[in-house]
């Protein structure tokens, strides 16, 4: 074990690692960090906002996201990597520091599945800033979200420079296109706002689909400009294919 750094205490850190000397000198709790030899840290920045509790095809977006995290976490511990997680909504809900071991991954999954978020909104920027504060070491960061948010470009750019970022965009079919289903009363999962919409209107269906795909294309373009990888996964589609395709592509690039 090699000494790594001394940094400010963050909730979730082990209290036993607090460096009392530095803490006494600065007046703020600090911890002493030690670096373990050659290993990758995998961090999940998990969006638990209310918009995830939506899904028209068998499962919620949040379920799919949890499944993806579990899959990736298990493959991470196979490589003897450390796995950590930040769960956020409009504030940080939970921080699980990176650790090794099968038990730790199982705890992680348990946390994701049983998690009851206290917030509703989404603030990706804030989550990334928190990420920058808690991890100084370069890590592989999976940002699992539906990206229903704005103004997170700057922190994302910074985080991407420091870490190896991969954006996993979870979406539902009904967020991309609408079929004729008569008059729907929709309630915004995050703000609770109600809106009555006539989905049988052809004009609406076309306009909605084209707008959404344009929006998605813009997001992709923004991420490309940051040199950030984006994987789109739909709740009603098998996710293995896009994931495998992505990692294959990544392997070639390396």
């Amino acid at each position: 074990m090699e000494f790594d750094e001394v940094r400010e205490y963050m909730p979730g850190d082990d209290v036993r690692s607090i460096d009392w000397n530095v803490t006494a000198r600065t007046g703020f709790p600090h911890i002493k960090k030690f670096r373990e030899e050659r290993e990758l840290t995998v961090l999940f920045v998990f969006d638990a906002s209310s918009s995830g509790y939506f899904g028209a095809h068998g499962r919620f977006k949040s379920d799919l996201a949890a499944e993806l995290c579990a899959l990736l976490a298990f493959s991470a511990i196979k490589n003897n990597d450390k796995v950590g997680m930040i769960i956020f909504t409009d504030h940080i809900e939970m921080y699980i520091p990176p650790k090794k071991g099968r038990g730790h991954v199982l705890r992680l999954i348990r946390e994701i599945l049983a998690f009851e978020p206290t917030g509703h909104g989404t603030d990706i920027g804030m989550a990334l800033e928190y990420l920058m504060r808690v991890t100084k070491r370069r890590a592989v960061v999976f940002l699992v979200s539906d990206f229903i948010d704005s103004n997170f470009d700057k922190p994302l750019r910074i985080a991407n420079r420091k870490h190896d970022m991969i954006a996993l965009k979870i979406a539902d079919r009904r967020e991309i296109e609408f079929q004729s289903a008569g008059i729907l009363e929709l309630e915004d999962a995050e703000s609770g706002e109600l809106f009555l919409v006539d989905t049988s209107s052809k004009r609406f269906q076309l306009e909605f689909a084209s707008r959404v795909s344009r929006e998605d294309a813009r997001l992709k373009k923004r991420f490309d400009s940051m040199n950030l990888d984006l994987i789109r996964i739909l709740t009603d589609e098998p996710y293995l294919m896009p994931l495998m395709a992505f990692f294959k592509r990544r392997g070639k690039r390396r």
Partner: protein, 346 residues
């Protein structure tokens, strides 16, 4: 006439309450206001909705379409509830029937048609003509009295029995003319005939109005005897003597000499007529001209004013079925619309 009848609740002699209509209207009003406030304020909490991840894009692109008419549904429902409450309050429209009590008096007009009535002292025509005119006038002023007509000369007969049908009476009166009966003046018989007509009447007041211009000179009954009979039956006899004092002018159509004018003295047995009237509690009048005759009939008309009892019936017609029907139609329409054209998911 319109009223809210409310509702009567009675069961096994234990409960017998009438809830007035306004209670239902008040309760209905309160319920509607409460429901309206509830619909308005609680819409967000009671409406069913689909959770959707992000409606901002939909708001930008979509429109409620037909769905915007869904605001009509609670209005329809409120209207239906209101109508049902209105029906509960039981509106009734009453058609007021002013039924005149037919318990008037019975009057028999006795008219002299003897030859002397041809005297032309009541301009513009002879006495009979004028008398008929005035009697018709008198009849037209009466309401709910049964009136009969007896004419007499040498004998007397009933031209029209007591009737309420003044149209028939008038037409019978118009048919009266000279020559129906042999000439003469049988006041007693006429009076007796009138009494005979009236004796079975159950009216409160029985009146005979006798018009003559002569002296009793035929018939088997003495006028005073007839008056006595009338008195026994509780009848009042008004007597009218017609004719100017002195001579009167007659036009006689002589088969040999043609039309000529004759003058004859007027002889009215005023004494007997007065006696008859006084005996029975009536009055004797003397008519010297058409106007006077008219005034006398007016007098009699006002003396014999019957107290007309106006019984007011209000016939109530139930209006609630219409409200009930309309209420149910609206309720049904609301249900149908909300499940078909304006159907919302979820």
């Amino acid at each position: 006439m319109f009223r809210w009848a409310g509702m009567q609740i009675s069961a096994f002699d234990l409960v017998d309450v009438t809830i007035p209509g306004w209670v239902f209207l008040l309760v209905g009003g309160l319920v509607i206001v409460a429901l309206a406030v509830f619909y308005w304020r609680m819409h967000k909490h009671t409406t069913s909705s689909l959770r959707y991840s992000d409606i901002r894009m939909i708001k930008r692109v979509g429109a409620p379409g037909r769905g915007r008419y869904r605001v009509l549904l609670p209005i329809l429902r409120l209207l239906a509830v209101g109508l049902l409450f209105v029906a509960l309050a039981r509106p009734q429209s009453g058609s007021q029937e002013r039924e005149l009590s037919t318990e008037g008096i019975d009057i028999v007009m006795v008219l002299d048609i003897s030859g002397s009535m041809k005297a032309e002292d009541f301009q513009p025509n002879n006495r009979l003509f004028v008398a008929k005119e005035e009697i018709e006038n008198f009849i037209s002023k009466r309401v709910s009295d049964r009136i009969g007509l007896v004419v007499f000369a040498r004998t007397a007969f009933t031209q029209c029995p007591l009737t309420l049908d003044y149209g028939v009476l008038s037409s019978f009166l118009r048919q009266v003319d000279f020559g129906i009966i042999d000439d003469g003046t049988a006041i007693g018989t006429a009076l007796a005939t009138a009494v005979n007509r009236l004796k079975d009447s159950k009216a409160k007041s029985k009146v005979i109005v006798l018009l003559t211009d002569g002296v009793n000179n035929s018939g088997e009954i003495d006028p005073l005897t007839a008056a006595n009979i009338a008195k026994t039956f509780d009848m009042k006899v008004y007597t009218i003597g017609v004719g100017r004092p002195g001579n009167s002018q007659y036009t006689v159509d002589d088969p040999i000499f043609g039309k000529r004018v004759v003058y004859m003295a007027n002889e009215i047995d005023e004494e007997t007529l007065t006696q008859i009237a006084e005996e029975t509690g009536g009055r004797y009048f003397r008519a010297r001209s058409k106007d006077e005759l008219g005034a006398i009939y007016d007098d009699i008309d006002s003396l014999e004013k019957t107290e007309i009892k106006v019984k007011q019936y209000v016939n109530y017609k139930e209006l609630f079925p219409k409200f009930l029907l309309l209420g149910f139609v609206l309720l049904f329409a609301e249900a149908a619309l909300s499940q078909t054209v304006l159907r919302k998911v979820p």
